[in-house]
C-alpha cells in the first residue's frame, strides 16, 4: 500500500496535485492512503520549501510543481 502525502498550505495548486495523485493511483491500480499536510512546520520537517510537494512512502517525489497524472502514475508503478 502506497502512502501518499501532499504538502501544501491549501491553495488551488495543492488541491490540483492531490486530485492528480488520486487519479494516478486509481489508474495504476495501486492501493493508496492519501494525506494532506497543511501545517508549515510539518511541511518543513520533510525538508521541503517549495509547495506543492508530493511525498511517496516518506520520500519527496517532487517539489514546487503540480505533476500531471501520467508522471505520478509512472512513479507509482
Amino acid at each position: 500500500m502506497k502512502k501518499l502525502a501532499i504538502l501544501g498550505t491549501g491553495c488551488a495548486k495543492c488541491v490540483q496535485l492531490a486530485h492528480n495523485a488520486e487519479e494516478a493511483a486509481k489508474a495504476a491500480g495501486v492501493a493508496y492512503e492519501l494525506e494532506k499536510v497543511t501545517d508549515i512546520n510539518q511541511i518543513l520537517s520533510y525538508g521541503v520549501m517549495t509547495t506543492p510537494a508530493l511525498v511517496i512512502d516518506g520520500k519527496v517525489a517532487s517539489m514546487g510543481k503540480v505533476l500531471p497524472v501520467d508522471d505520478i502514475k509512472k512513479m507509482l508503478s
Partner: protein
C-alpha cells in the same frame, strides 16, 4: 412524525440522548436538523436584495462605473498585456532553474550573497503568493536564516513578474519602477534589521536535510537570454505608449511599434524551433495564421496579436516535455488569476469608480485620508495595506481606483509596498512560524519602511 435528532446517530444513541434531553441539547438537535447555514445564507441574500439601493444615483453610478472599468480592462489590457505576461511567468517557471537560485539561500551560502539573492529571487521563485510563506519558513529554519528570509518575504510579492508588468502598464512606468526598486532595496534593510534585532538568539534549525529541487539539464545561458529578451520585447513594443510630442526617439518607436513587435515575434519563433524543440509545422502554422490575420485586419493589431497567441498556445500543446510544462504553467496562472483580477476590478470599480469618476466612496473621503503626501497619509496607507488582503494582482485595480479618486502618489507607493506582502491572515501564519514578537517587529518594520518610501517618492 419528523425526526429532530442529529444525523448519523443510532437508535440507541437517540434514546440515550432523549433521556439526557435539556434545553441546550434540544436546541442543538433542532439546529442540526434544520439546515441553519443554508437558511442564514438565503435570509442574507433576501435582505440584501430587499434593501438594494438601486435607484439612488450614487449606487447606480457606481454599478455603471464597475462595468465600464471591466470593459476597459478587457479591451485595453487583457490581450496585449496580461496574456503575454502569463506566458512569460509560465516560461520562468518552466525554463529558469529554481535550484540554481535556491542554493544561494541555503544554510552555507555567504550572507551578503544570500541577502542579494533573497531580495531579487521573488521574480523567479514565486508568482503565487501561496508559495511565499513556505519558502519563507524554509529559508528561516533550514536555510540562510531570519534575515534573508525576511528580505525574501518583503520583496517577493512586489517583484513577481506579473505584478511588475501590470503595475507598470496600468499605474504607469514610474510607479512600476518605484515599486520594484523600492521593494528590492528596502527588503534588504528589513532583513538586516530583523537579523540585527535578533542576532543574539539561537535559531532552532529543523533536523531535516534541505531537499534541493533536482538540477535540470543545463541550457546555454545565451539561449535563455535571447528567448526571454524576445518575449519581453514583444510585450514592451506591443504596449508602447503614445507620447505627447511628435518628434524624438520615443515617438519614432511608437510609430514603428507593430513592426518592432513583429520582428521580435519572428526572433522568438526562431528560438522556439532552434533551441526549444518546438515543432516546425506548428510554428509555421501559427505564423501563417498571424500573418493572415494581419493582412485581413490591418488596422486592428489586437487581432493578429491574438492569432499569434493562439498559435503559441498550439505550439505548447505537446504530450510531454518542457514546452508542455510551459503551457501548463501559463494556463494554470491564467485560470488562477483571471477570476481574482476580474473580482478585484469589479469591486474597485464599484467602490472607487474609474479615474476621474466616483464610485460608492466619495473622492473627498479618499483625498482626506490619503491625498497629498503628508506623514499621516503615507502612514495610514501603509497600515491599511498591511492589514488588508490583496489577492494576487488585485492591488493594481484597487490602486488605480484610489489614485483616480485622489490618493497621492506617495501614499500609493506606501500601500503598494505594504499591501501585497502582508495581510491579517498571512500575519497569523507568520506568527506560527516565527512567533508573535518577531511577527510584530516585522510588520512594524514593513509599515515604517513603506511609509518612508512613500514620503520620499511623493516628494520627487
Amino acid at each position: 412524525m419528523s425526526d429532530f435528532s442529529p444525523p448519523g446517530t443510532t437508535a440507541e444513541e437517540r434514546v440515550a440522548a432523549a433521556g439526557r434531553m435539556n434545553p441546550v441539547t434540544a436546541l442543538r438537535g433542532i439546529f442540526a436538523a434544520i439546515e441553519w447555514k443554508a437558511f442564514a445564507a438565503i435570509l442574507a441574500i433576501f435582505l440584501a436584495a430587499f434593501y438594494l439601493p438601486v435607484g439612488t444615483p450614487r449606487f447606480d453610478n457606481a454599478v455603471m462605473e464597475s462595468l465600464h472599468l471591466v470593459k476597459w480592462y478587457a479591451r485595453e489590457h487583457v490581450v496585449l498585456c496580461l496574456v503575454p505576461a502569463f506566458f512569460i511567468a509560465g516560461a520562468i517557471g518552466a525554463f529558469v532553474s529554481q535550484a540554481s537560485v535556491m542554493k544561494y539561500l541555503g544554510p552555507r551560502a555567504p550572507k551578503p550573497l544570500a541577502y542579494g539573492v533573497a531580495s531579487l529571487s521573488g521574480t523567479v521563485l514565486a508568482v503565487c503568493s501561496c508559495t511565499i510563506l513556505p519558502l519563507f519558513a524554509g529559508i528561516y529554519r533550514m536555510g540562510a536564516g531570519l534575515g534573508p528570509a525576511a528580505t525574501f518575504l518583503y520583496s517577493g510579492p512586489a517583484i513577481n513578474v506579473l505584478a511588475i508588468i501590470l503595475t507598470a502598464r496600468i499605474l504607469g512606468v514610474e510607479l512600476g519602477v518605484a515599486r520594484s526598486v523600492g521593494a528590492v532595496v528596502f527588503s534588504i534593510f528589513v532583513g538586516l534589521l530583523m537579523h540585527l534585532i535578533y542576532w543574539r538568539e539561537e535559531q532552532r534549525k529543523v533536523e531535516a536535510a534541505l531537499a534541493m529541487p533536482e538540477p535540470p539539464e543545463t541550457r546555454p545561458l545565451y539561449q535563455v537570454i535571447v528567448y526571454f529578451a524576445a518575449m519581453v520585447a514583444i510585450l514592451v513594443f506591443a504596449n508602447w505608449g503614445k507620447p505627447d510630442s511628435t518628434t524624438g526617439l520615443w515617438h519614432a518607436i511608437y510609430s514603428a511599434k507593430w513592426l518592432l513587435t513583429a520582428a521580435a515575434a519572428a526572433v522568438f519563433a526562431v528560438t522556439l524551433v532552434l533551441w526549444y524543440g518546438a515543432r516546425l509545422g506548428k510554428v509555421v502554422a501559427g505564423a501563417a495564421l498571424t500573418i493572415a490575420a494581419a493582412v485581413a485586419y490591418p488596422h486592428e493589431p489586437m487581432v493578429p496579436f491574438l492569432a499569434g497567441t493562439l498559435g503559441l498556445a498550439f505550439v505548447t500543446m505537446e504530450p510531454d516535455g518542457d514546452l508542455a510544462e510551459w503551457g501548463r504553467l501559463t494556463w494554470g496562472y491564467a485560470k488562477q488569476i483571471i477570476p481574482l483580477l476580474l473580482g478585484g476590478v469589479l469591486v474597485a470599480g464599484l467602490l472607487l469608480g474609474r479615474p476621474g469618476h466616483e464610485g460608492l466612496i466619495p473622492n473627498a473621503w479618499v483625498e482626506g485620508a490619503v491625498g497629498g503626501n503628508s506623514l499621516v497619509a503615507n502612514f495610514f496607507a501603509s497600515i491599511a495595506g498591511a492589514f488588508m488582503y490583496f489577492a494576487t494582482l488585485t492591488e493594481v485595480p484597487i490602486m488605480q481606483g484610489l489614485m483616480g479618486s485622489g490618493m497621492g502618489k506617495g501614499p500609493a507607493l506606501a500601500l503598494l509596498l505594504a499591501g501585497p506582502a502582508l495581510s491579517l491572515p498571512s500575519m497569523l501564519v507568520l506568527r506560527s512560524i516565527m512567533g508573535t514578537r518577531k511577527t510584530i517587529v516585522f510588520v512594524s518594520l514593513v509599515v515604517v519602511l513603506s511609509t518612508v518610501c512613500g514620503l520620499i517618492f511623493g516628494n520627487t
